[in-house]
């Protein structure tokens, strides 16, 4: 099993929702951003290309950052995710330099001001310190939301298919430009996309074997405009107009965790 992501460059709209979702999911310090968008805009004289590349930790199979880490704080999980044990990291920033994709950020005190620097912390920030503490003086990066994956798999959910086991950025993406799944499974959604749309990775020549793939193509040219049955019936939303949600006291679900 090796979790991977396929990013659809044709669909990405540069809306930044993935960044916002990540900030909420991980209570990110104000000046740290795990997933980022890079704008590539070229004009070679006859063809203009306006593209947005969402980048995040590539979770490389042969990860230079893991090899470089002097304390083994960065390590490779069995499911292919490169994770960081923040209790082991001593903040040497060698991995920040060694990552060929520049996807790691050292959390300095300057990167960690209050949301409103001149003012008191918001309740969200305070709660974040409890629920998802960040350690100043260590290095951070995208972790493919492995907290969500682990919690979801305990409930037998499938990452990439079931929302509660899927990274937050994938869930929130409005154009559905992000797809998540198992790269080792040839029938998974990601493997199929890579195969059918000739997925590529960034800087394959480094030999790092990233788990984040990109696909790019021209929009339009679809052979049929016939709507599938579920779209015709609106079945995916139909229940909303007929079924009542639980009554309000129940709506505020109490969760003992």
């Amino acid at each position: 099993m090796r979790w991977g992501m396929v990013i659809d460059l044709a669909k990405c709209t540069r809306c930044h929702a993935c960044v916002a979702a990540c900030r909420i999911e991980h209570f990110l310090p104000l000046r740290v951003t795990w997933p980022r968008l890079i704008a590539l805009e070229t004009d070679n004289g006859y063809d203009v290309d306006v593209s947005t590349y969402p980048v995040r930790c590539n979770q490389c199979k042969d990860a230079p950052c893991v090899d470089a880490c002097p304390t083994q704080a960065s390590y490779k999980r069995e499911d292919g995710i490169v994770a960081i044990d923040h209790d082991k990291c001593f903040g040497c920033r060698y991995c920040v330099i060694a990552c060929p994709y520049q996807n790691r950020t050292y959390l300095s005190r300057k990167r960690n001001p209050n949301y409103f620097p001149e003012h008191a912390q918001t309740r969200f920030e305070k709660m974040g310190k409890k629920l998802y503490p960040h350690q100043v003086g260590t290095t951070e990066k995208c972790n493919f939301c492995h907290e969500r994956i682990d919690a979801g798999r305990e409930k037998d959910l499938k990452p990439g298919i079931d929302r509660d086991a899927t990274p937050a950025c994938v869930n929130t993406c409005q154009p559905r430009a992000l797809t998540f799944g198992d790269l080792d499974d040839p029938n998974s959604n990601v493997s199929k996309l890579i195969r059918e749309k000739s997925g590529f990775v960034l800087h394959s020549e480094y030999g790092t074997e990233p788990s984040v793939y990109y696909i790019d193509y021209k929009l339009g040219g679809n052979p049929s405009n016939k709507a599938p049955v579920e779209a015709q019936t609106g079945s995916h939303i139909q229940h909303l107009s007929t079924v009542y949600a639980p009554s309000k006291p129940k709506l505020a679900k109490k969760n003992a965790d």
Partner: protein, 321 residues
């Protein structure tokens, strides 16, 4: 800039399209890394040269070795630790707490340094007995030899590891070359030679002549090595070429021409070459001047190389770089 030059939209991420220099190891607190690496080069260089003189000039060898050891123990290591985000966790990098030394040059470096410091302190005690003790026996001499070899090996490793650590970075093509550790090693030894002359001037031992003759050769070798390194980088990739341009003609050109070329190589070389032709040792003042120049050169070299460590841009279509 031509029409193919990719333009960024968000200031935030322009550095991933355009080739941009690394900052973590040279700006702000990153200056500590630079200083640590300079002391690493000076300390190991001085120690290596000192043990070279162990038999012929035991007193200078002792003081030189001691100063080198101090450079590592008192400057390099604490500077590195001060740079860390969580310094008190430094023990996590060496066995038995971690096996990271198997893959990480940084961890190896810390291990090498610690071992060198261990062997080195023993060797220095022995060297001290030889230098000052009236009755140094053959046993002491033999032990000194053994520890000299042990400490010397780890000293060389300590001298080269940071070069390997840097050359490991695939996305910084200027560093990503096997030449880098040797440039650092040779330059370190040359620095050591210069410094030992200073030590020699104080201890009054006549090693300056020998040192100068080796320096002459080393400086020429070094100059050739740097030229080879730059030419190699220039043809290796566009990003490395940019690094070279930046170093030779860009913002840090003054560091390169003034610090590395003029003060680090030309001035000491001229002084030693002149003394060769005049068959006369340079005056003390001139020597001190040459030593200072050389040391400035050591600081400049590390600064320049760290400063122009430019990342290859992340986007495939920006491959022109």
């Amino acid at each position: 800039m031509n029409a193919r030059t990719p333009r960024q939209w968000m200031v935030t991420h322009e550095w991933m399209i355009k080739p941009m220099a690394q900052v973590e190891w040279i700006e702000g607190k990153g200056l500590l890394v630079w200083l640590a690496e300079v002391f690493s080069a000076l300390g190991t260089g001085l120690y290596l040269v000192a043990i070279f003189f162990s038999q012929s000039h035991p007193l200078a060898a002792f003081w030189g070795g001691l100063l080198g050891w101090i450079g590592i123990a008192v400057f390099k290591l604490p500077l590195h630790l001060a740079y860390l985000g969580k310094p008190w966790r430094f023990w996590r990098s060496f066995p038995p707490f971690s096996n990271a030394w198997k893959t990480s040059w940084f961890a190896r470096g810390i291990v090498f340094t610690m071992i060198f410091l261990g062997f080195g302190v023993v060797q220095l005690v022995l060297q001290g007995i030889i230098a000052y003790g009236a009755t140094a026996g053959a046993g002491v001499d033999a032990a000194n030899w053994i520890f000299m070899i042990l400490a010397g090996v780890f000293c060389v490793l300590t001298a080269v590891y940071c070069g390997f650590a840097m050359s490991y970075c695939k996305s910084v093509p200027f560093w990503n070359t096997g030449l880098l550790p040797f440039v650092f090693l040779i330059m370190g030894v040359a620095d050591g030679l210069a410094l030992i002359m200073g030590v020699g001037m104080v201890t009054g031992q006549e090693l300056i002549g020998t040192a100068e003759s080796v320096t002459r050769i080393l400086l020429i070798v070094n100059a050739l090595l740097i030229i080879t390194y730059l030419i190699n980088a220039n043809y290796q990739s566009t990003t490395a070429e940019l690094s070279v341009k930046e170093l030779v003609r860009g913002h840090v050109a003054w560091v390169f021409w003034l610090g590395i070329v003029l003060l680090g190589i030309l001035v000491p070389l001229v002084i030693s070459v002149v003394s060769y032709f005049t068959e006369q040792e340079a005056s003390t003042g001139l020597l001190i001047f040459a030593i200072c120049c050389h040391t400035v050169g050591a600081f400049s070299l590390k600064y320049g190389v760290l400063k122009v460590g430019i990342y290859r841009p992340i986007l495939p279509k920006a491959h022109a770089y």
